[in-house]
């Protein structure tokens, strides 16, 4: 029997402010997991610190709530240790693109098969509304004592430059569409990003529900032939101009959907398998470490390069 989204819910009280965009994201994720019929025992959700970081308590699975900015490296260790797990790393814009941006970049270089979900409310919600890395300069959201002096970064372009092989953007209140994006991201083999525009009614009084809904549109609705897949050099030449243009579009119009998919790159798991032939069958988490408590190796044989034989 296929699972229902209720199978992924926990009984914890969801402690976000009324109307918070995180509810939509959580809902979309629950439904995506159910439609993919992922066994909660095989599901891993790693979250950083922030309002969004609480998500791990609301999802039934193997969950871990770590440090601010460090969901991605934790997820990296988990996925490498057991590549059979479905691994999702979630965090806020501050978490993923501020304090943890080095990991956001580096995961792309590995193309490890994990899904990165950024709850992007352009503010630091949990610390009461300071400017986040995606808040444009000179904007002044309500908790700021003065205008924001930093330019906003573009998560999609950063992901592209870093080597992510699946890049999408959704909108928190569009549960159905966001669910589809998350499903595709999870199904994609390689590092995928889903940036989810997330209204924060409590602190972001500029990028509100209305503000977003006046601007957002879906790439595949505007252009029914929209095909983000880049599989060859020719695709690259023909499509990258448009893809970049769409990734850069931000203002009166904000595109949503899948921007970029690259199936040509090998995943980190495949790379590991090339250098460690036993990796697939016996990855670090599923490997014997002893033979009835005795070591597996004889250092005098394994480290023969260090032995001087008479």
């Amino acid at each position: 029997m296929a699972r229902s989204w209720l199978d992924y819910k926990t009984d914890a009280w969801v402690q976000w402010c009324p109307g918070c965009g995180n509810f939509g994201i959580l809902n979309a994720l629950h439904r995506a997991l159910a439609e993919l019929d992922i066994d909660p025992s095989n599901l891993v959700v790693v979250t950083g610190i922030g309002c969004s970081g609480r998500s791990c308590y609301y999802i039934k699975g193997n969950t871990i709530h770590v440090l601010h900015g460090r969901a991605i490296p934790t997820a990296t260790g988990i996925k490498i240790a057991n590549p059979e797990l479905t691994v999702i790393a979630e965090g806020g814009d501050g978490d993923m693109l501020g304090i943890g941006v080095e990991h956001f970049v580096s995961i792309g270089r590995r193309n490890l098969d994990i899904t990165v979900i950024v709850h992007d409310n352009a503010v630091y919600g949990l610390t009461k509304g300071q400017a986040g890395p995606t808040l444009p300069s000179w904007w002044q959201t309500k908790a700021l004592p003065g205008p924001n002096l930093h330019d906003n970064l573009n998560p999609l372009l950063l992901a592209l430059a870093s080597g992510y092989t699946f890049i999408a953007r959704g909108y928190a209140y569009h549960v159905k569409e966001t669910k589809e994006l998350i499903k595709k991201a999870i199904e994609h083999k390689g590092t995928s990003l889903v940036q989810i525009l997330q209204p924060c009614p409590t602190y972001n009084n500029i990028m509100t529900k209305d503000w977003y809904e006046e601007r957002i549109y879906y790439l595949d609705q505007e252009d029914p032939n929209w095909d983000p897949q880049v599989a060859s050099i020719d695709d690259f030449k023909n499509k990258m101009g448009t893809i970049l243009e769409k990734m850069l579009e931000w203002g009166d119009k904000i595109p949503l959907g899948v921007f970029y998919v690259n199936l040509a790159k090998d995943t980190f798991e495949q790379r590991l398998e090339k250098v460690i032939p036993t990796y697939r069958e016996y990855p670090p988490a599923k490997r014997p470490v002893s033979a009835n408590g005795k070591p597996l190796v004889d250092p005098w044989i394994l480290f023969a390069d260090k032995v001087v034989k008479p």
């Binding site: 240790a81 057991n82 670090p284 597996l296 250092p299």
Partner: protein, 649 residues
């Protein structure tokens, strides 16, 4: 001289030269020569934070049984470039010898670009005061005045001679420079040419052309020495371990070996001196064949471990923690600066009860400090790392053998007690090579334990189940839904700020450390070496151990009887055993390579006992047994509070 007793053999020599110039390789050949001949050795490398050109040197000591320390002056120095001559001309003892290159001897101090300015100034003043030219030649003269025999090799001619007898290009042949110098030294120390040739063949192994060229170079060197200086008076007898398989490994390598033997399945790291060689060695051996006894049990031939280079130390520790919650047996490895970045994660690992071993290879601080030099300055840093109440196991290894077994034990403890274990080691250990026999690192002496690791948790599994011993069963991810967290939590891992649960959880984690304190025997926490009734007690920790043990022998000869309290486990701390020894002594002397006397500070905090006398070395150079002995003697005789030693170029 065959048949003569080998028991008094104690040889010390150094090989100096520019970094990247093959000093390391020459040192290895020298060590192999003596190991083949049946001796035990240590060799330690002093080098600068530089890739090529700066001066570095390798010091070797040879004895029938494993030497515990190096010291100066040495019996011989191979110093083929002007900077080496000028750095080491006072390092050779009277009647010792110095092998140098006579073709570069006119070099002026001023023109030696890599030489550090303060040394240049000291040398220029030194020669000025003696009315001598500031050149390498003057250094050779001073050495001669001091009774050192100087052996000038016309390197350019000798290399041309090697070239004329091979078809290799001159650029390749000139790489035999160190072999020429080394062969000269070994020969004059009394090693027969056949042992030198055997060591060269062993060292370059499969590279036949390289072997042949280096053997030729050694022969040409020996011929020249015979002709111009006469050979050695007599040859060394064979050592007691002739014919024994011997491992030559650095501290970095021995820890890596311990980890593999100890069942490590994943190591993460971000490059830093002096730690990264450990991870690189691991990576070089990540695929392995199972030993016969393991193959028989598991019916498996091959396995592998993952070594992951991460983007920084935050990622190194976090991905190690991630792998651990997934069920891997993990460690990471770093030095002080990298460990500083791991701080927050240590705290997470304590709260979330995640097993991980962090091997900390200390170097000279603060800050970037002396990045390639010895330091024992991170005891307090590691012990008190992590915000909040922050108990974790901290163990310091005294030598290669301890480091090997500690690496295994640390992995066991981490998994058994689900806590970070900090394995404290240092640069001296990292870059010191020592000879080890099968009984020293016997794989079957080690056991691999995982504690309450449950492969098949039931449906009602609770990650943070409150138990009597404070340890909750640990299930890997991928079995049943479960939650790990850095927030205070209920037994099922859900966050809570409830005051009653908070107290219960704190008590549970405290009980865990009481279990640890109880289960780890005192003998693994602290070791008293020497006569328990001695009236003088030396206190130290880490890689000073074998050095102090050697110093004790020197002191004994001077009629000073001491014992030595070696601290091993800093948390949980063995308060009673330490206090018992200290209160029994009339004089306690603390020996450390940090300025704060960090261990003494801890002893005072833990036991209330105040140590009043200190020996310190802070230059980042290897500590000598002779320095320790002199310093202790001085304190015993004068009652001085502190003696700071500083030997070594």
């Amino acid at each position: 001289m065959h048949g003569v007793s080998n028991s008094n053999i104690d040889l010390k020599f150094l090989i100096g030269g520019p970094q990247g110039g093959g000093i390391e390789s020459a040192g290895q050949i020298a060590l192999k020569t003596f190991v083949l001949k049946g001796y035990q050795v240590i060799g330690t490398r002093e080098y600068q934070s530089n890739i090529m050109g700066a001066h570095s040197y390798f010091t070797i000591r040879v004895k029938p049984e494993r030497p515990g320390a190096i010291n100066f002056p040495v019996d011989a120095a191979t110093v083929l470039d002007a900077e080496s001559v000028l750095t080491h001309f006072t390092d050779v003892k009277k009647d010792g010898f110095m092998v140098y290159d006579s073709s570069t001897i006119k070099t002026k101090i001023k023109t030696i670009a890599p030489m550090p300015k303060p040394l240049k100034e000291r040398l220029i003043k030194f020669f000025e005061e003696r009315g001598m030219e500031p050149t390498a030649e003057s250094a050779v003269k001073v050495a001669e005045e001091n009774g050192v025999k100087t052996i000038g090799l016309p390197m350019r001619d000798l290399i041309r001679k090697v070239a004329s007898e091979t078809s290799a290009p001159l650029s390749r042949v000139s790489k035999t420079l160190n072999t020429i110098g080394l062969a000269t030294t070994l020969y004059l120390l009394g090693v027969e040419p056949n042992w030198i040739e055997k060591a060269i063949a062993t060292h370059f192994a499969a590279k036949k052309k390289v072997v042949d060229m280096n053997i030729l170079a050694a022969r040409i060197a020996i011929e020249y020495v015979d002709e111009h200086y006469g050979g050695p008076c007599c040859f060394l007898p064979e050592g007691p371990h002739l014919g024994k398989e011997t491992m030559l490994a650095t501290g970095n390598e021995i820890v890596a070996m311990g980890k593999v033997v100890g069942g490590l399945t994943m190591q993460t790291y971000y490059p830093i001196t002096p730690a990264s060689d450990e991870a690189l060695f691991l990576e070089g051996h990540r695929n392995f064949e199972l030993a016969p006894w393991a193959e028989e049990v598991l019916r498996l031939k091959k396995l592998g471990a993952v070594v992951l280079q991460t983007e920084d130390e935050l990622s190194a520790i976090m991905s190690a923690l991630g792998a651990a919650v997934a069920g891997a047996r993990t460690s990471t490895s770093t030095s002080g600066p990298g460990f500083a970045l791991m701080n927050e994660a240590i705290s997470l690992a304590i709260m979330a009860e995640i097993p991980v071993v962090i091997t900390v290879w200390q170097r000279g601080g603060p800050s970037t400090g002396l990045p390639t030099r010895e330091g024992q300055q991170d005891l307090l840093h590691t012990l008190f790392s992590g915000h909040g109440d922050n108990p974790k196991i901290v163990i310091a290894s005294g030598d290669h053998i301890e480091a090997y077994y500690d690496a295994i034990k640390a992995l066991n403890w981490a998994e058994k007690y689900q806590t970070p274990v900090i394995h404290l080691v240092d640069k001296y250990l990292a870059s010191t090579i020592t000879s080890l026999h099968r009984e020293d690192i016997d794989p079957l002496k080690a056991t691999v334990e995982r504690g309450k690791f449950v492969e098949n948790p039931g449906k009602d599994y609770l990650r943070y189940k409150i138990t009597e011993d404070g340890i909750s069963p640990r299930a890997p991810m991928g079995k049943v839904p479960l939650t790990w967290t850095g927030l205070e939590h209920t037994e099922d891992g859900m966050p809570t700020e409830d005051p009653i649960v908070r107290d219960q959880m704190i008590a549970k984690r405290r009980r865990k450390f009481e279990t640890i304190a109880r289960e780890i025997p005192d003998s693994e926490k602290v070791v008293l070496h020497g006569d328990p009734d001695a009236k003088i007690t030396l206190v130290s920790w880490g890689s000073t151990k074998p050095i102090i043990l050697e110093a004790m022998k020197l002191l004994e000869k001077e009629g000073i009887k001491v014992n030595f309290l070696q601290l091993r486990l800093f948390y949980p701390f063995p308060v009673k055993p330490v206090l018992d020894v200290l209160t029994n002594a009339e004089l306690v002397i603390d020996i450390e390579q940090n300025d704060l006397a960090q261990a003494a500070f801890l002893i005072r905090g833990y036991t209330g006992f105040t140590i009043e006398h200190f020996v310190k070395k802070l230059t980042g150079r290897a500590l000598w047994d002779t320095e320790v002995a002199h310093a202790v003697k001085r304190i015993v005789e004068t009652g001085e509070k502190e003696v700071v030693v500083s030997g070594g170029a």
